[in-house]
């Protein structure tokens, strides 16, 4: 993984090198690379003068951070209570069997990352499956497989690295 020191410097300096902004910095790094590469963690640790072990501890504690590269498409299954009682476990099972991958992992071909989330707060649409930020509400076991097929053939959108205003 190639990281760009200039991009990282820009992110860290946006927060005035403040230690308390570690979580925000990591969030921005993740937005840039879609995961937290080890080199980036080392860079952040040095820049913010926080021991690497503490940076690593924060990066592993919070669910939003990923320490492994993510697939082209991120499939998120909501497992909130409302989704649960309306059959989300069966939907997750179906997708898991279809992709042959456990939640939190990426398929061998790097095409899909399967994730679960505790609640998206859109319970009227339960059960919800989100693919690349697009919501698929009232998913059934049958629909779940169709959703995956739809993305299987689709080429991923080109990732545009957003330039932030200073």
């Amino acid at each position: 993984m190639k990281i760009n020191a200039k991009d990282l410097s820009r992110i860290v300096s946006k927060y005035h090198d403040e230690k308390s902004s570690l979580i925000a910095v990591l969030q921005d790094v993740q937005e840039e690379y879609h995961w937290l590469p080890p080199e980036a963690l080392r860079f952040v640790s040095e820049k913010l003068c926080i021991p690497l072990i503490d940076v690593y501890s924060v990066a592993t504690f919070y669910r939003a951070f990923s320490l492994t590269p993510r697939g082209e498409h991120v499939v998120t299954v909501c497992l909130g209570t409302a989704c649960h009682v309306r059959g989300a476990p069966l939907v997750l099972d179906r997708i898991r069997n279809r992709l042959r991958v456990e939640p939190g992992c990426t398929t061998g071909d790097g095409k899909f990352t399967l994730e679960s989330v505790n609640c998206l707060g859109a319970c009227a649409l339960a059960p919800i499956v989100v693919v690349d930020g697009k919501y698929h509400g009232q998913t059934t076991v049958k629909k779940a497989a169709q959703i995956i097929e739809e993305y299987h053939t689709k080429r991923p959108k080109k990732r545009v690295t957003r330039r932030r205003k200073k």
């Binding site: 951070f65 497992l79 309306r86 609640c119 707060g121 076991v141 049958k142």
Partner: protein, 610 residues
């Protein structure tokens, strides 16, 4: 700044709901299409299209309301729009087909306020819901916004403000119900010049989304409440901590903050009173435990969000060791109304110990999913049947779960329980943030208990052993039961471990984690016993205890199930009876969903067929 067209210039207003639920249902496409169609009909000068915050009736999204008549259109689709514009906006004939129809036998209800879901609600916190554009401060001000701030800053002393909040009887809406005025007073009395206030928007309870909705629909009410609180406690810096799963709330809050600053309602010398106050937004990173106040403080400091021992309470030693006052989003949003309408008015609503209103998110097996704001003391039955419209498909109500993973399940015979902090606690549950998950006969209570325990076990930060290991053992025991490996004595073991975790955990997460198990054991013990003794799941949910079978008498041999089965477990030829090979079946349940209703031949049975 772009000049905004004045509201009175339009003949009609279309209010398009843009809460997360409706947005996920393509509300923005609807808005765009409406604008295009209105322009095509050359009505752009007469009709305005505005996006508003969440209307609460998420089940029926996307929602469009035509004002001033208050005509309520629901489940809008792009293709309905030309017809709507032509008929209603041009010819003045409201479109019946797009209105809300309570049940197939009833007539459509044109007006929003005549719909049962809205009729029984009492709006204080959500007073502005669906009537203003949350990204436009002028509209908030137009509905008397920031009036309370002006009163508090120019006509009241900090002591008076605190006295008023104390007299109102407002209690923390985050779940524990600590009196807000008292909390403010404690923080105010602490020595030291630097203090902080925090708005807790880390709404982690699955199935609860009222804080998200308030932040999305009316961010200024939270900002105004916080500024009044800041004045009362003499604080100059505040933080709003929002979950990372709520990007829309963060966006709208940031817009609201910059607009308030632009208008001199935030920042230096607010309203020329020499009072400075500033608010910063901090985003969470997906950790449930950060809703606990000491963990939240650690998270704002950029550390791992683990709770610490209390005392010292945050009011003594909080953010960066300074006195800190934390309140929930909903609590802050109540404050402006208390100041502008007075404590006496506020305390006239609700019960003896619980004043005001509470927002509940009504979700699960219920007809009208959505957010409801009701006065304290209302019964469960009123919420579920009058507002919620009962259980879908005529199924039987079984239980309602309140308080998220920290709460419990309340059974059918307690439906007439009045909702306030005390009676919910007595029933073994708690108010929590206000999630209300309705369960019907198809919900397995052992599975629900396992679900919540699994949740708290995963979210346990691991600092204190009772929570870290206790929840793990409880999940393990429950898991065994749902897999048909339950043993005699499991129930007693669960009870004793639950009591221990409750008594000895460090923070609220562990102390309340056993509630789902304890309440389901209290009210649904027979289900546990069926799982252990008969290896049977009465609700036909637990995968290892059920089998899918095809009824020979009903099967029409249409081959649909066999074609759809992903594991090739179904055999049979056209026009002949099909059978499921139990060895191959993965119990995914596709066959039951695809079997045509005219046959309805696939059934679930428990205990499992060998």
């Amino acid at each position: 700044m772009k000049r905004r067209r004045k509201t009175e210039e339009f003949r009609l207003h279309l209010l398009v709901c843009a809460g997360t639920g409706c947005v996920a249902n393509h509300a923005f496409d609807i808005k765009e299409e409406l604008q295009k169609e209105i322009a095509r009909k050359k009505l752009s000068d007469e009709i305005g299209v505005v996006t508003t915050g969440c209307q609460g009736f998420c089940e029926r999204g996307p929602i469009v309301i035509v004002q001033p008549d208050g005509i309520f259109y629901q489940r809008m689709k792009k293709k309905d729009i030309p017809h709507l514009v032509e008929e209603h906006l041009l010819k003045g004939r409201p479109v019946k087909e797009l209105m809300y129809i309570p049940s197939p036998r009833e007539a459509p209800v044109p007006k929003m306020m005549d719909i049962e879901f809205f009729k029984h609600q009492r709006l204080i916190i959500l007073r502005n819901r669906g009537r203003l554009d949350p990204e436009n401060i002028d509209e908030y001000i137009g509905f008397n916004g920031y009036q309370a701030l002006e009163i508090a800053l120019t006509r009241m002393t900090p002591e008076r403000i605190i006295k008023e909040v104390k007299a109102s009887g407002l209690r923390g809406r985050g779940g524990a119900g600590f009196p807000t005025g008292m909390k403010w007073d404690l923080c105010r009395r602490e020595p030291g010049r630097i203090k902080y206030i925090i708005c807790n928007g880390d709404e982690g309870d699955p199935g609860a989304f009222m804080d998200r909705s308030v932040l999305e629909a009316d961010p200024h009410s939270v900002i105004e409440g916080m500024t009044i609180g800041a004045r009362a406690i003499s604080v100059h810096k505040g933080f709003v901590y929002v979950r990372s799963e709520y990007p829309l709330a963060v966006k709208r809050l940031k817009i609201a903050l910059s607009q308030a600053e632009e208008y001199g309602l935030l920042g230096k010398d607010i309203l020329g009173t020499n009072f400075d106050f500033d608010i910063e937004v901090v985003q969470g990173a997906g950790a449930f435990v950060c809703g606990e106040e000491t963990a939240l403080i650690a998270s704002i400091e950029g550390k791992v969000g683990r709770p610490r021992q209390r005392p010292p309470y945050p009011s003594e030693k909080g953010l960066w060791g300074k006195p800190t006052n934390i309140n929930n989003v909903e609590t802050w949003a109540n404050v402006p109304m208390i100041i502008s309408r007075g404590a006496k008015w506020f305390s006239s609503i609700g019960t003896k110990t619980s004043k005001g209103t509470k927002i509940f998110s009504l979700v699960g097996k219920i007809n009208n999913t959505g957010l409801v704001e009701v006065p304290m003391g209302i019964t469960m039955r009123e919420i579920i049947y009058d507002i919620g419209g009962g259980i879908p498909q005529g199924k039987e109500f079984k239980a309602v779960q309140t308080g998220g993973p920290s709460g419990g399940c309340i059974p059918k015979n307690m439906l007439d329980l009045p909702i306030d902090y005390e009676s919910l606690t007595q029933a073994g549950s708690m108010m929590g943030s206000g999630g209300m998950i309705v369960m019907d006969e198809d919900t397995c209570m052992v599975d629900v208990a396992r679900y919540f325990l699994n949740f708290t076990q995963e979210e346990s930060c691991g600092k204190c052993p009772p929570c870290r290991m206790g929840t793990k053992h409880m999940v393990y025991t429950l898991d065994r039961k749902t897999k048909g490996k339950g043993r005699e004595g499991d129930i007693q073991f669960l009870e004793s471990i639950a009591e221990n975790v409750k008594l000895s955990s460090l923070c609220g997460l562990g102390q309340t984690a056993p509630h789902p198990v304890l309440t389901t054991l209290r009210y649904f013990r027979d289900e546990y016993e069926a799982h252990i003794k008969e290896k049977r799941c009465p609700a036909l949910v637990c995968k290892d205890l059920i089998s899918y079978v095809i009824d020979d008498k009903l099967c029409g041999g249409c081959t649909v199930c066999a074609k759809n089965c992903p594991s090739d477990a179904i055999s049979g030829e056209p026009k002949k009876i099909h059978t499921i090979d139990q060895q191959k079946c993965t119990k995914c349940g596709i066959c039951i969903t695809v079997c045509p209703p005219k046959f309805n031949a696939v059934k679930k049975v428990s205990p499992a067929v060998k």
